[in-house]
Amino acid sequence: MTATAQPFGDTSLRRTGTDWAGLAFHGVLLISLLVSLLILFTLISDVVTRGLPVLAERGTDFLTAPTSSRPARAGVAQGIFGTLMMAVFVAIIAFPIGIMTAIYLEEYAPDNRLTRFINVNIRNLAGVPSVVYGLLGLSIFVLALRDLTGGRSMIAGGITLAVLVLPIVIITSAEAFRAVPRALREAGFGVGASRWEVTRLLVIPHAAPGILTGTVLALSRALGETAPLILAGAVLGGFSTGSKGIVEQIFGRYTVLPVTIFDWARRPQADFRELTAAAIVVLLVVTLLANAIAILLRNRYDGASS
């Protein structure tokens, strides 16, 4: 080979010039990351620096005291209980219905126009503003079904939230089922497994980590919602739960942490600002704990299936 035909010019291995465009892109990516981290850090540090003194001063009293109009006595006990109960409602209503809907849509439903229509509309439902679900909860679970739910009750709010996150559960679970390789299903059918056996023994275990990820997302969303619950009967301001049992509380008045935060944030007294920050810290911890449990579950499943 002589050096006559060299379409790419000099063939030396030495680096020539600097790839400015590549470096600039790298820089932009880094800046984007730093901006989001900075915003997050500012928010958290602000809330924590203002909220921690309250938590330190009041200690467990802040966590166990009911709402009150006097800042020195106000606590988040009812909010914590309400938020945890919302998680329970979402877990027992939205998760099973959502996951089973996804199984039906992905594994059983024929691929026809109706199925596609339903799929598109579930996606649309996930995009509906949450306040609209609040109105739905108000008109159906609070008013129309008041004899069953007890009106502005915890159960009405819980069902409203479950309905709110149902499309998210369905969509993320359906994604998880869609990600199961066809070869796995074929292998099952190939040894004479029925659709139910393939779904139960192969498809669901394979999709389980993805489903759990979806349920974590849905749960976080539900625990952070404020607007729909204000419409669906959560109490803004003080109320007494006194010595009511859990069942009475489920059918009775309630509040949740985000609603407590909203209530306190709009009060004129300066002391409530610090209480708001402290309540936000508590909400963050509750949400992170819920996520951590779900992630632990997922990792355990992941380990078991592979």
């Binding site: 024929p110 691929d111 390789p181 070869a183 796995l184 299903r185 074929e186 292998a187 099952g188 059918f189 190939g190 040894v191 004479g192 497994a193 029925s194 056996e197 023994l201 192969l202 275990p205 394979h206 299936s305 592979s306």
Partner: protein
């Protein structure tokens, strides 16, 4: 190579089919040994067409498959080999819009008759796929999967060992049955899939290019295994590899893609016939590598 060619010959018990005296048939194979009362025709396709929606992928295919022999389906891409083999155990049922016309007769019964349960069909007619697809489970559980869902009550350990032995995998995995099937090499995974298929004692094993994702040594192992398995099972294999068809099969069905892009049968004969003395010019061109 010589052993591979001769073994299946000896293992072919097929007697001339008395039930269909008019059926065109290549020169009859050796008569069946007296201790082999198995039917000579394992499955009989009559006028089978396979449609995907409005597209006909396979057109009017008629041939029968000799029991306890290896039948190879060869042909260029798009000639419908995989579609056709999947029609034999109703695997195409899983593809939306797929439908089959004509009859696939198995013990005289049309597999597409309304009362036939496709799950039951797939238990009798097992399948090994192009890409090894073990379950993400242990080696043991892979093999035990089929028997378990069938409610097998015998000694599972023995069944698993026997299946792995017959798939020529036992010696390599006997000490690591609890390990994941996915940790095996490609060739071992494919033999695991074969063990999984034979654990439910099918009558017919369909193999859709079982060696196309494997290295030459693993390919040879699979071919030797097929020859061994043909003593007990009927094997239908799709292959792109003409040397493989020539080496490993007793009968060859040559398919081609027609003008309308539907696959059709050009010629079906004993493998030696197809490769040394084909009746059709297309077959000769294909097996000599002039197209496809």
């Amino acid at each position: 190579m010589a052993t591979i060619l001769t073994e299946p010959e000896a293992a072919t018990p097929a007697a001339p089919d008395k039930t269909r005296p008019t059926a065109p048939r290549p020169e009859g194979p050796a008569p069946a040994p007296a201790d082999q009362p198995a039917p000579s025709v394992a499955v009989d396709l009559r006028g089978v067409s396979v449609w995907y929606g409005s597209f006909r992928a396979v057109k009017n295919v008629t041939f029968d498959v000799q029991a306890h022999a290896i039948t190879a389906l060869i042909g260029p891409s798009g000639s419908g080999k995989s579609t056709l083999i999947r029609a034999i155990n109703r695997m195409n049922d899983l593809i939306p819009g797929a439908r089959v016309e004509g009859e696939v007769l198995y013990h005289g019964e049309n597999l597409y008759a309304p009362h036939v349960d496709p799950v039951e069909v797939r238990r009798r007619i097992g399948m090994v796929f192009q890409k090894p697809n073990p379950f993400p489970k242990s080696i043991y559980d892979n093999v035990a999967f089929g028997p378990r869902i069938m409610g097998y009550r015998g000694n599972m350990d023995e069944l698993v060992e026997g299946s792995l032995r017959r798939a020529a995998l036992w010696e390599e995995v006997r000490d690591k049955l609890k390990q994941s099937g996915l940790a095996l090499s490609g060739g071992q995974q494919q033999r695991l899939c074969i063990a999984r298929a034979i654990a439910v004692e099918p009558e017919i094993i369909l193999m859709d290019e079982p060696a196309s994702a494997l290295d030459p040594r693993s390919t040879l192992q699979i071919e030797e295994l097929m020859a061994e398995l043909a003593r007990r099972y009927t094997i239908i294999i799709v292959t792109h590899n003409m040397q493989q068809a020539a080496r490993a099969s007793d009968f060859t069905v040559f398919l081609n893609m027609g003008e309308d892009r539907a696959g059709y049968i050009v010629e079906r004969a004993r493998t030696t016939e197809i490769f040394t003395n084909p009746k059709n010019q297309l077959t000769e061109d294909y097996v000599s590598g002039r197209f496809g």
